[in-house]
Symmetry: none
Subunit: 196 residues, 2 copies
DNA sequence: ATTTTTCATACAGAATAATATATAGAGAAT
DNA sequence: ATTCTCTATATATTATTCTGTATGAAAAAT
């Protein structure tokens, strides 16, 4: 009777094993008993919501309620995080990191605060989403503008334009269909994210 | 007792209300009793996981376990689908208006007449449909192409592509599911056509 | 071969979720 | 005012979780 939530409890077990934590240790961290955890993982019993929250927290996981329609985009993020990193994502992270550091300094340059927030959040996404070669180029272009702005600070209009172009980049990466997703060495399927 | 799952149950209530669904209707859809739902939403009782799953499903929501470090990225996606404001819709109308004026001039550029008609109809819809932040971005991108075409007129192939992208935009706005619909209250009634 | 660790399982009892049903109050609609 | 809908709340009963504790079996480490 318990497989309505099986996909969640299986993820719990996978997460625990991925960080090489024993049921006993998880028990200590979460406050549930070991026997309880065993039953949850096995599907012998359906946990209460609060138990799941406790266990998830202990595994550095968060419970999110997401509209079904957004699930492809969210899966994109979850998978890209567990996908093996290749040279593309390495450079990508370097670039995003540079943009983030720049933003920390230039945040006040934004005329509108919400625009600055949007920009920061777009960066958060770009750090985790797979990019095509073309998109990576655009990301590179963006960081190159930073160089020009070292000497000559941008106007708020330029900044706004800049933020928009970064957001465009984010959009194209987020809403990519999984079918034409960037080919990667091994696209891990949902249930086997236990590769470090 | 202070429940640690209140952030989830609050989202349930918010989702239900956003869809204008009564507790009774949700009760019918989810299989829980109305009284049960009331207590969950109020926080007087903590639901079991399976109850939460049932309710979430009935609201077209999915429960996701996400690594904490990915939360900024995920929040970004969740917000981009629901964020909207008055200023945004104002901008939306400005953009659509611009596209419409442009179309009045460039209508002959379309190789196929039906394509032009479809384009015009898409615009008419876009004027009245609530758009997410993402969709507004795409709309903005579209109008920016117009700028480039001031000097350098588009080929009929480019034009066709352009019309297609606008139509896609229209589709995503039209076929949005109830659950993540943009709350209309702010601008549902304030619409008087400003003719171009 | 022995010890340790890890996981599955069992059981009793306390705590709490969940059902079914009913009702009261608030607000909206007629 | 009367009727309707919606939400909160109450009560009694059943069902399930959860704890605490203990044990067996398999696997790993010594």
């Amino acid at each position: 009777m318990a497989y309505k939530t099986e996909y969640l409890t299986q993820r719990i077990r996978a997460a625990r094993e991925a960080m090489k934590m024993s049921q006993r240790e998880l028990s200590a961290r979460s406050g549930l008993t070991q026997s309880h955890i065993s039953q949850i993982e096995r599907g012998t019993m359906e946990p209460g919501l609060s138990s799941l929250v406790d266990v998830a927290r202990a595994l550095d996981l968060e419970i999110v309620l997401a509209p079904k329609k957004l699930m492809p985009a969210i899966r994109n993020i979850l998978e890209s995080a567990s996908a093996t990193s290749d040279t593309l994502t390495l450079e990508q992270r370097k670039l995003v990191g540079r943009l983030e550091r720049w933003f920390a300094q230039f945040r006040d340059g934004f005329a509108i605060a919400s625009e600055a927030d949007t920009f920061r959040d777009s960066l958060a996404l770009l750090r985790h989403l797979p990019l095509s070669a073309d998109e990576l180029d655009r990301l590179k272009d963006a960081t190159e503008r930073l160089d020009r702005w070292q000497a000559d600070p941008p106007s708020s209009k330029e900044l706004s334009e800049f933020a928009h172009s970064v957001r465009q980049l984010r959009n194209s990466a987020v809403h990519r269909d999984r079918d034409d997703a960037i080919p990667r060495s091994a696209y891990a399927l949902e249930e086997e994210d236990d590769n470090a």
